[in-house]
Symmetry: C2
Subunit: 418 residues, 2 copies
């Protein structure tokens, strides 16, 4: 059977299974989730063994140490996957919930009921824990899922899929509710993106190249973000101690993630007070600073920034720094170079805070807090599936609710249209 046929059959089986998972009671779904967690712990030796096969091949093919690290399943990876599943089991089930009911003048009662999307395709790279995290979220939200992980993680993903299938069957759910694409062939991605009649949503997670490929080739709706070029604007009215802590945290806490700050914008009236001390803290942490001419004039030893630095997502201990005339100039810079991901202001002026919040176009806008809080768990959504910078359907972190939609439920006693 060729790859297109294989994927088509998987998608049909997923659609079939989606009905069963979509109708499934919460307690059964929760039991499946905790069973996966238990099996992960009980079968950890088998998981390490299959993971070592992937690691061996990856080493032979010369994968970078950073990629090898992301590919490795440690004992603490098992703990984190199992813990995540138990958290998702504890999260509230969105399926079937209904908001307010309103009554029309003719007596019709109208409400909206949350329902699963159906079949979700996840396309991701290297980290095998995504297999468990994504399957858990899809299962809890009543969706079937097709997982296409990185080819370098195939053995790891297969053993994890086997465990998920075992848990699903143990509670009477079809194992086709979570399937891993069983081939490393890249054409499987194209085949998956062509299943528009069967697959309701595609979520790509990985580098910008992968995501652009998916957007370009999919007729199925895609939720994604390309990159996070996040700014912090330090206003002249900012508490300088607070600004220093926020800017340090936003850049240094975890520089390789999408909600890390990439460019610091400083009000010109604050620059002389703020920048020299801030720069010293950054330099102690090994952060390379690339400044506009005015920043370089204030701080010794800054590298002059080039035009390429302003739209850059460094994902590293590198920071672009710019002194701006006022908040308008900061917002113009953000509108031009930002990625609609995460933007923050540090200010003590309430009207500036309000204006920044209203006018800046980003999925999460923060006042007096670190950009690192753009995260489903940190914002209280529970576990998350990633962050969307598309405005349709989901904008920001995607939790269980974003994996569902709402249908109208209308109840009458014989109403007809006049």
């Amino acid at each position: 059977m060729d790859i297109e046929q294989t994927i088509h059959q998987m998608a049909r089986a997923a659609k079939q299974a989606a009905g069963a998972v979509g109708r499934c009671e919460t307690r059964i779904k929760n039991r499946a989730l905790t069973t996966i967690a238990d099996l992960l712990e009980q079968q950890s030796e088998r998981i390490f063994q299959e993971n070592r096969r992937d690691l061996q091949r990856a080493e032979e093919s010369g994968l970078s140490p950073a990629m090898l690290d992301r590919l490795t399943i440690h004992a603490k990876t098992i703990d984190s996957m199992a813990g995540g599943l138990r958290e998702v089991a504890a999260d509230a089930d969105p399926v079937g919930t209904m908001g307010a009911t309103w009554v029309r003048p003719n007596g019709l009662r109208v409400a909206r009921m949350r329902i699963p999307l159906g079949v979700i395709g996840i396309i991701y790279e290297s980290r095998p824990n995504v297999t468990i995290d994504a399957a858990g979220l899809c299962l809890k939200s009543g969706n079937a899922v097709i997982l296409r992980g990185g080819s370098e993680a195939l053995h790891s993903n297969r053993v994890l899929a086997g465990i998920i299938g075992q848990a699903l069957e143990s509670v009477g759910l079809p194992s086709e509710a979570a399937q891993v694409v069983p081939t490393v062939d890249r054409s499987a991605i194209n085949a998956l993106l062509a299943q528009e009649e069967l697959v309701d949503l595609i979520i790509p997670r990985g580098g910008e190249g992968l995501i652009r490929f998916v957007v370009e080739h999919s007729r199925i709706p895609v939720l994604k973000h390309y990159k996070g070029v996040c700014h912090v604007f330090v206003d002249q009215t900012a508490d300088m101690q607070m600004a220093t802590e926020i800017c340090y945290n936003a850049k240094v806490h975890r520089p390789g993630v999408c909600n890390a700050m990439e460019t610091l914008l400083v009000h010109e009236a604050a620059a002389r007070d703020f920048l020299p001390a801030m720069a010293r803290r950054y330099q102690h942490a090994g952060v390379q600073l690339r400044g506009c001419p005015r920043s370089c004039a204030i701080v010794d030893g800054m590298t002059p920034a080039t035009e390429a630095d302003w739209p850059a997502e460094f994902l590293d201990l590198i920071l672009a720094v710019k002194v701006v005339a006022d908040m308008e100039a900061a917002m113009e810079h953000i509108a031009r170079y930002g990625s609609n991901h995460t933007e923050a202001i540090v200010t003590s002026d309430i009207s500036r805070a309000n204006r920044f919040v209203r006018e800046v176009d980003a999925s999460v806008v923060l006042v007096n807090a670190s950009t690192r809080f753009n995260d489903g768990g940190q914002l209280g959504l529970g576990a998350e599936m990633g962050i969307s910078t598309s405005k349709l359907h989901a904008f920001g972190p995607m939790g269980l609710e974003e994996l569902t939609t709402r249908k109208f439920v209308v109840t009458g006693d014989g109403q007809i249209r006049e």
Copy 2:
């Protein structure tokens, strides 16, 4: 300048204007809306004149009487457009509204603010009133809009666009917030669908051919429905008088629209009581009935249905009729042939009603009411932009809220991630 350049410049101007409309106060947007309404009434003679130019050309090119009728702007079309705008002005403005705020353990306050989508492209056929209705909804929801109407309505759409632009400028908004594509060339559609960096959403309205073309060629998210193959299931426990009124209304009230019933499903235990009298009412109204073998055995003079009748959207006084063994068989039929648009059950059994509501996959599911209520106005959403059977972002009638999205607003006093 070629068409691609023209469209690209329009999209850039729209994106620019979207900022101004997105930030605009509600009372200014409302004044623009009522000004458009006033100008439509004041300049009706000019509108009729331009509309006659379109009609004349359409007649010469042999457009069908039905199409000519849809193209015609009558005095009552003006009334309806002006009335619609005044209703939208009276509707609540979703932009800037925030739901509940929750507080995280670290004191961060999290809320979600409704914001416009940005730039919306509408691609539609023949009816020039869509130009006004769509522009009004987009303006109220803070979006800029690019309108690509049918080539046969070009003069009508242009004069309407001129009036919209005049109203926008009179309140200090850029006229580029609502632009009509100034050419009849079909390649303008392709050019518009390629503006993925500038246009946030495409809404096609028209025949299935147009909509499939748009979905196939767009990388921009599309909200649409292909067709409405709507069912009413008459359960054995139904009040037969109520079932008759609902089934009559769902088919006969306005057979040419997407929420009209196309197939009637009848529980076998109700068929002998229900079908003969129902068929007589339909036959008096000129409805042609196409029945399954069991229906034909009960009702004299029914045409036998063929396989092609079950997935058909007749949009006419034609109805397919099927006797089913039970509700499961009805739901299986709907799952197989339905279009996720509108599905209704007539029953007096509460557990069947609940199960039908939970399990039937449609944007609007009704109990004991006519399918004709799948409509934004009827469901209390205010004016509507159309109906979506896509599950992402909007599922069902799209009102002002569906033309917006939500961003997270996070307020702290110096929180950083530990």
